[in-house]
């Protein structure tokens, strides 16, 4: 008997431990995922620069300081690429790529600010190539043989020399946060994708919030119970569980192929995501409306408010926090959604920031997907960097929803 009880207690303990283990595995996985992403991504916010004495000869540039002072637009056509490659050649005398193909942009900016630099030699910190950047960040396994790593021995030698001479520095990577996609990892940024996501979500919000709230009000407050409202109910509940890629197919077939709307545009992405988010908002809003006690409605009706007034004066203000929480959570889901956007072509390689709702754009999760396909070492870091930004946004949005829920939740 004693032995039996001991065995049963052991079983009890094991069972309990199994539960804790399961929870720990789930949470541990989350921590591991976060840690991996942060470890491989934080360096995308850092950029390696190299000190180069840049000789801005008017001959090579094709413009003089005086001409530029008279007409600054001339700089747009000046040969900064040539100047930079000459200067680098002059300074380091090597075939190895040292500065990025886009480094000349910084030089042009400097000259735009001070045209007096033309004709002089100025020391400037220029963006390095992605390979040097990765070397400086210690992302390259130097133990591996030359064939097994993405950088050549010559590049390693240049890096060792430059860093010994103190000609390399690391600083905040403004490029990553302010530019759009690029073929070169050191020039690629997330701003284009971020703005694309923003434009898309604006459309999503503008459509799904009013339509969702109005539909919820109708179903909860006015709709008679009949076959039509049953069909609407069933539609909404099922739409909430339809795989997101199906919405992408809908967007492709209806918005692009039938209505001939522009491909890859935030307006189409926003519409598609709006249809996907709509049931989420309707369901959350209905729950919020249901939570308003019927006695409030009776009270207002009893002194002669019309049913529409009951809703606009009493039910809606009381249900609004719940509706907003649901909407924010729906928006968070839409922000992280990738598959439907792939279907409507928002995966284009775009090197410029989208300027409007009808221009080709991409979105942050899609950008992550595009970069994740890229084998270049520099893009692995950028992908993780973009994920960090996305997760920060999502966490902020979700915290806002939780705050709203706790702040305005009314208990009856």
């Amino acid at each position: 008997m004693q032995a039996r009880i001991r065995r049963r207690y052991a079983q009890e303990r094991n069972f309990r431990l199994m539960g804790l283990a399961a929870l720990s595995i789930a949470i541990g996985f989350l921590l591991f995922l976060m840690a991996t992403v942060i470890a491989s991504g934080w360096t995308s916010f850092v950029q390696t620069r190299v000190l180069v004495p840049v000789t801005l000869s008017p001959e090579r540039l094709g413009v003089t300081a005086e001409a530029v002072k008279a007409d600054p637009a001339l700089l747009r056509r000046a040969n900064f690429q040539g100047v930079v490659s000459d200067s680098v050649e002059q300074a380091f005398r090597t075939d190895v790529g040292i500065v990025s193909d886009g480094a000349w942009l910084a030089v042009r900016e400097a000259v735009e600010e001070d045209p007096g630099l033309i004709g002089q030699t100025t020391e400037m910190w220029l963006i390095t190539t992605s390979n040097l950047d990765q070397l400086a960040k210690g992302r390259i396994d130097l133990e591996a043989g030359e064939a097994d790593r993405p950088v050549s021995d010559a590049e390693v030698a240049v890096w060792r020399k430059l860093s010994a001479e103190g000609k390399l520095e690391k600083g905040l990577n403004g490029t990553f946060l302010t530019s759009a996609d690029s073929v070169d990892p050191e020039l690629a940024g997330i701003w284009g994708a971020l703005k694309g996501s923003f434009l898309t979500l604006v459309v999503t919000l503008l459509i799904s919030f009013p339509v969702g709230v109005l539909a919820a009000i109708y179903l909860e407050e006015f709709a008679a119970k009949n076959r039509w409202t049953d069909i609407i109910e069933v539609s909404i509940n099922n739409l909430a569980a339809v795989p997101s890629i199906i919405f992408g197919l809908l967007g492709l077939a209806v918005f692009l192929n039938t209505l001939n709307m522009p491909r890859s545009a935030p307006i189409v992405g926003g519409l598609t995501l709006a249809l996907m988010t709509l049931p989420v908002i309707v369901i959350a809003s209905r729950a919020a409306i249901k939570a308003v006690p019927p006695s409030i409605r009776d009270a207002a009706l009893g002194i002669g408010a019309s049913r529409v007034q009951v809703v606009t004066h009493h039910v809606l203000p009381l249900a609004l926090p719940g509706m907003l929480t649901g909407t924010i959570l729906g928006m968070a889901r839409a922000l992280g959604e990738t598959a439907p956007l792939l279907m409507i072509g928002m995966r284009a390689f775009l090197t410029s920031v989208p300027q409007g709702f009808t221009q080709p754009a991409t979105a942050l999760p899609v950008q992550i997907f595009i970069w994740s396909d890229n084998v270049s070492r520099g893009f692995v870091e950028k992908t993780s960097g973009a994920i960090i930004v996305l997760l920060v946004f999502l966490l902020t949005i979700n915290s806002l929803a939780i705050y709203l829920r706790n702040r305005f939740e009314v208990r009856w």
């Binding site: 539960g19 399961a22 795989p243 197919l249 999760p365 997907f369």
Partner: protein, 464 residues
């Protein structure tokens, strides 16, 4: 006419109408008094009534302009061109017009077609003229509507009732959007699938075991050499989503729910549940990246270490494992609901007989909550087989009919993405097959959802 101008015009009409009507309402109150029933509606409703009557016709005309205006301008521009300036075919005309539009918008600096510059100038003139006509027309129509509405106002006029009736119409329209979406999904999937099944027999699609749509790249090859037997895809989807992922998610999710509902202290629960919610909120593309970058190589190395030489770096196991983790919070929260719905008296009865908590959970709680848990698991399966990004990034595109979890398999969703990204001709069997796959996916998830929701609902009612 720009969108901004149109909106400003509508704002002007609506605002003006509102003020006019409201003023009339105020005058009624001044003459009739404030007792109940002296004036039927408050001044604001008189205002809203007039505003709606001003806005509706004007907005209708502006919408008509947005839809038809371009065509009207194009016709006029084409008519004004010298004969033979544009090729006779529809395609020539379209190309020419799109160039003209580009010039008008300023997208192009110079024209390719010599006539285009002149046409662009003519376009601008026509656009301005039509814009003026439609704009003034909308203004006039709005003014007429406002005046008519205004003339109907009397102290006993039921403005509130009318405005509320129009509000109701708006509400009904909003709730119809859901039906329209469902209809749109079904219609577009069925329509495109129908076109696909005209090229490929449904029997071959549903029961064929060869999937290689990639060979049908050129138009003259369509249907001739591409193979559209989708069984390997269905198998891959089931293998990853319904088997591997569930092997991970069901025990972990269930045990998590048991621990949180039965053992954990309330404070711990308060912390752990939001963490699980974060896990559920991580975008799938992040899971996909993680699966491809970290899990897949680890799985491959593991496979090699146990002696599987041809282990692929894209494996069913890697995708399934990560998908399983993704589903854990979902299973856990469904199981949580099911377990907490079991009446406390059942649990107490078992404990009072001297059973340990774990015995109570295994012998009483889980059997009692089983329908709820099963319903939740079915919903989780439906979610897993519809999941796209993880499989696109980690499972690969090779359509293998294999039982080996270290092998690469492909799924319905991964194939849809592969078939529809990049350049597409919209009537090739290759792109249309994506819609047929979408239709199958839609129907299967729909059936799972309806069944699972019914099970869960019945279960909840049983304990209510």
């Amino acid at each position: 006419m720009s969108v901004g101008l149109a909106l400003a015009m509508l704002l002007l009409l609506g605002g003006g109408g509102y003020l006019l009507g409201r003023q009339r309402g105020v005058a009624f109150v001044a003459s009739e008094g404030t007792s109940v029933g002296a004036v039927h509606s408050r001044p604001g409703y008189h205002g809203a009534f007039v505003a709606i009557l001003a806005l509706l016709p004007a907005a209708a005309l502006l919408v008509a302009w947005a839809l038809l205006g371009e065509g009207l301008i194009a016709r006029e521009v084409l008519a004004g061109l010298p004969a033979g300036a544009v090729g006779p075919s529809e395609l020539d005309r379209e190309a020419f017009l799109s160039e003209v539009r580009g010039l008008v918008r300023g997208d192009y600096a110079a024209a390719f077609n010599p006539n285009a510059e002149a046409a662009a100038a003519a376009w601008k003139v026509a656009a301005r003229r039509y814009g003026l006509v439609f704009g003034l027309g909308a203004l006039a129509l709005g003014a007429v509507g406002a005046l008519w509405g205004w003339s109907r106002l009397t102290p006993q006029f039921r403005a509130r009732t009318r405005v509320e009736r129009m509000t109701m119409i708006l509400l009904v329209v909003a709730s119809l959007v859901a039906i329209l979406t469902t209809f749109g999904i079904v219609a577009s999937l069925v329509f495109e699938s129908f076109r696909f099944f005209q090229m490929v027999s449904p029997v071959e699609f549903l029961f064929g075991t060869q999937w290689s749509p990639q060979t049908a790249i050129r138009a003259d090859q369509v249907g001739s050499s591409g193979a559209f037997g989708a069984v390997p895809l269905f198998w891959g989807t089931v293998f990853i989503g319904a088997i591997i992922a569930m092997v991970v998610a069901i025990p972990l999710g269930l045990m998590t729910a048991i621990y949180l509902t039965q053992y954990a202290a309330p404070e711990f629960r308060k912390v752990a549940k939001p963490v699980l919610e974060v896990l559920a909120g991580v975008p799938t593309v992040v899971y996909g990246f993680f699966a491809a970058l970290t899990v897949a190589p680890a799985v491959r190395d593991f496979a090699i270490s146990i002696g599987i030489s041809n282990a692929s770096s894209e494996s069913a196991l890697a995708a399934g494992l990560v998908m399983g983790v993704m589903i854990i919070p979902f299973v856990s929260s469904m199981a949580d609901d099911a377990l907490t719905a079991v009446p406390r008296s059942m649990r107490d009865g078992s404990l009072a007989m001297g059973a340990t908590p774990s015995e109570t959970i295994r012998r009483v709680l889980i059997p009692a909550a089983l329908p709820g848990i099963v319903g939740g698991v079915l919903l989780a399966v439906s979610r897993a087989i519809g999941e796209t990004m993880i499989v696109v990034m980690a499972a690969g595109l090779a359509a293998n009919l294999t039982l080996n979890p270290f092998d690469s398999v492909t799924t319905v969703t991964a194939q849809i993405v592969a078939l529809l990204t990049g350049d597409q001709e919209f009537d090739s069997a290759k792109t249309l097959s994506a819609f047929a796959l979408g239709l199958v996916l839609f129907l299967v998830t729909l059936a799972l959802n309806i069944y699972a929701l019914a099970v869960v609902k019945k279960y909840r009612e049983a304990y209510d």
